[in-house]
Symmetry: C3
């Protein structure tokens, strides 16, 4: 009934070769997957939804996270709360995954009825000694970060979330997430371990050979390169980018848009990173023509060339905030070899499809990029499961942030295993 | 190669909180599932078929029970016997699941040929020292209870079956199962542990919110309620039912139909319960209009309003015997999270579809009810697998028989684990 | 993180009853499957492809073997080599399963580029201290046996392969495999353990009851029988066959076609067996009318009635070499209960479909036979997984080669477990 051998995992952590990919077991063992769920996903802040998905009292959203399921619901007092989606009677799920509009939370099995604050209001036939007060829904820690909703399944969530919120809100606020809506959601199951999905996201070494669409708006040299290897022409490109980044930062910050790099990936429980990055071409948006996909600007943004604010959190999210739309990604492990990547495209809540934006144009870059990344993750999952696999070295120039993710992961795992 | 940790399961059994649902592991652990198969399904009497399914010599039926498979076959001496569906040579299955008409039981692989009494009659090329006598099919214990066929996979089956047969035959005999035939079989895979399927069957707390069809013939208050919670109107209903039950029992018993409750759910290996219950409306049958679905009455029953005799056995069956038809249910665990529920509708063997009964009318209440129960079981399986699940209390008024099932289950498991 | 309990498997090996099928666990336990992969498939020579599948420099073929994958590629020097299909950077698969035409082997992830000799030629952004020399593709041992390609995944492959090649090349050479091409490939997943697939192949006891097509060209008594059981008519048949075998061997050997039995199934790591067997009817080919399916003869064979040279290797292959075509089979375990059987039909490279052969006629006997064997293997897998299964005795007349396979398997497993 124990799920994993702690000593064996500790040994694997201890013998990890720095700046190298992990050994096979980290990606393929059901035991380490169970440990990851305990140590990482059940004890850290997870990005799961956007506040605008529950705009009114009674709006609810059930989100599955592995074997867990969380109900996010806006109460009659306009507060958003989160609860475990498990009835306190015999355990039935109260809501299926997805959105719902509810008066109370009524269990489908025997109709135990909970208020939007989680209290058990009514349970039939339970007899005299029955104490409703002890049987409310179990709450889940929830934080809204300028409209991005994070939950933590632990009863003792990392308290550094306050500092992340404090640092990030000035960056995110101008995009005014509360006045957006979800224009499109895409759920993609990638056939690889969740860590391969994250590693893939934490470098652009693979962008040039794989992402013809994404590298239209994104600069190829934005995430590192070996200067000694570049041709004169490529070096000129890299310098052009560096200059653009500097001048853009100055311009944006002067206009009240915080833009400079903040990086705390491996020095705290809630690892994060942000920076506003210039985009190529018109500089407006991550689209095939680099122009804004939506005519209605977000929030207070009037500079159409607002670039793309990237915001990463560990263990499970990344986002791109642009002047016209936002793309958010959340990663939900399914088992040691399958991971759900959920992508949401947000536009201003008043934007009308067909009139203000074309859905295909809005979503095409990231739909294509996700598909390409899913293929890479699957090829890598198969390769690392091969008995002949030997972890190879990370590039010091292009995979430094992969290494930071790994350092964070191993430190968090170690902290949990003791 | 050991399949489960006996000490760990013993601890889980010992710490069970009385009158509460079980802990998650009982529903989700492959180890406890293996223990359940050993302790419960391989050592108790299982209802698997009806004698009328093998009416003539040479009629056979293969039934899969988990990894086991049993052949039920009527011999040339008209006796029904059961054998393990495993060739004594290299182990091939002799028959695929389902009915067959056979002269001998001939293995499809190398044509070893067994008589209908299980003896190995013929095996080619086995040479001189070959002793056929030791290589007959392995018998399986079989009992017919007024036409309901029970098997026990153990070599040492519980002998209390004799007493169950003795007590039950007077109840079942009037329906004359031997002169019925199967009008319809429905196999439904429910995505939940077999114990959730049984718990669901052992209470009607969930009937009002979930079974609009079943609660036409069945009384809402037939399986318990909290009197102090009922309105004056509901109390009147409950009293009407109680009076009807008493007067019906008197009338039926006077007419030679044993009807009063016998309950031995938790005090013996072969737990069972029976009672003839009045039905609402015309009182005839579990149909949408409460009228008999089949014009040809069963057996000696001439009182059309014969109610519904319910008969439960542990671990795996329940049945409803009415004046015009019988519905039988058998539960076959597939793995810790999937369970087969096989429903058979029996009518008089002379009844002709289209003339004497309409199949849709005959089956609609229980097809709908099964589908609803399958959904509830699946929602509950997901909920109890959630790390946030905490077993809640059973209702003292409506879940007493669920508690008896659990007491039986835990006692049987403990008896096996020692 | 250990995958199997060595002591428990040793006990199972030790208590095996000679000349009987194995106990259930050998066919159904994931642990023994893991041991089989280690002890058998990762340490022995496996038949995987035909040299004519990579005829020119740059022709490559990726073959999955369980969790392993091997690239077979012909270099610019015309040598065929094999490599693990795993990038030395972060482990991505270099090629998907199947054929490819390549200049270099370029990883799809970050474009690390390997020569056809496996050397890492190019890796971008890896910085100053990076040593390409240590990061070439890991080689896989490869041998061509007159055009049949064998690989061994171990770094220390059994060296008796040299002797097998030496003995077999005279038998195989007349069929001139290098001038053939693959006319058809069929991949069939059989729902049984790989050992059941091999056992099935190592006897023809099941041929009469199951293979109406195959027993047209193949003699029913070619693989043993109990003489005392045969009728006078059947005995005459058996004698006719024995005479034909003797006279055919004399004729073929005189014409330079080695034909007599060589059997080393259980006395060496690379167990094998060969013999040229006469076919019934015209004696030409394993077809429905026993006539050659292809008009272009193979190699130097001008005697159309060249029978069928059968060649078995352990653990994973069998082949039939005829005058007009060759059928090769390789067995790839997928998990304890599923096995891939890959069948390839080879004809002369100049033969043109439609003109020189009809594909349906070429493939029909073995397609039908494979389907029948897959059904038998599945029925047996289900039976041996039944708790009631008891290993039965092998026929001394018809299952002697099954016993030799088992002796080989158990000895090899024991040698590995120590
Ligand atoms: S399980 Fe929710 S009310 Fe019973
Ligand atoms: S397995 Fe049944 S006859 Fe061989
Ligand atoms: S994994 Fe092959 S180049 Fe990176
Ligand atoms: Fe990517
Ligand atoms: Fe129900
Ligand atoms: Fe066969």
């Amino acid at each position: 009934m124990t799920n994993y051998d702690i000593a064996a995992i500790r040994d694997l952590v201890a013998r990890r070769r720095p700046r190298h990919a992990l050994e096979s077991a980290f990606y393929t063992s059901p035991e380490i997957f169970a440990a990851d769920m305990d140590a990482i996903f059940n004890r850290h802040w997870l990005y799961v939804a956007v506040e605008c998905e529950v705009p009114e009292p009674g709006d609810a959203l059930a989100v599955d996270i592995g074997k867990s399921s969380v109900i996010i619901v806006r109460g009659d007092d306009a507060q958003v709360r989160a609860f475990h989606n498990v009835c306190r009677h015999r355990g039935a799920r109260l809501l299926p995954p997805g959105p719902a509009l509810v008066g109370n939370l009524v269990c489908p099995y025997h109709a135990w009825t909970y208020g939007l604050d989680g209290a058990l209001k009514f349970a039939e036939h339970m007899g005299d000694g029955f104490d409703r007060a002890c049987l409310g829904l179990r709450p889940v820690a929830l934080r809204s970060m300028a409209g991005l909703l994070f939950v933590c399944l632990s009863d003792d969530p990392p308290d550094d979330i306050d500092d992340v919120v404090r640092q990030m809100e000035p960056y995110l606020a101008p995009h005014d997430l509360k006045n957006t809506r979800v224009a499109h959601t895409a759920d993609l199951i990638e056939y690889g371990n969740w860590k391969l999905v994250l590693e893939n996201n934490r470098e652009c070494y693979h962008c040039m050979p794989n992402h013809p669409e994404l590298t239209i708006p994104l600069f190829a040299y934005g995430f590192g390169f070996a200067p000694e290897e570049l041709s004169a022409e490529d070096l000129a490109q890299a310098e052009r980018y560096e200059t653009l980044r500097r001048t853009s930062h100055d311009r944006w910050e002067a206009a009240g848009l915080p833009s400079r790099l903040i990086e705390h990936l491996d020095d705290r429980p809630t690892g994060f990173r942000t920076e506003r990055l210039p985009l190529d071409g018109s500089g407006e948006s991550q689209t095939m023509d680099t122009m804004a996909a939506c005519r209605v600007p977000l929030g207070t943004l009037r500079d159409k060339a607002a670039g793309g604010l990237h915001f990463w959190t560990q263990p499970n999210a990344w986002h791109h905030f642009m002047g016209d739309h936002v793309v958010t990604f959340s990663v939900i492990p399914l088992d040691e070899g399958r991971t759900l990547v959920r992508t949401k495209w947000l536009v201003h809540k008043d934007a009308v499809e067909g009139r203000d934006y074309d859905l295909e144009n809005l979503t095409s870059v990231w739909n294509a990029t996700n598909r390409q990344d899913a293929d890479l993750v699957e090829m890598t999952q198969r390769g690392v499961a091969d008995p002949a696999y030997v972890p190879g070295p990370y590039s010091p120039h292009t995979e430094g942030l992969v290494e930071k993710f790994m350092e964070w992961y191993l430190a968090r795992l170690k902290a949990h295993l003791g």
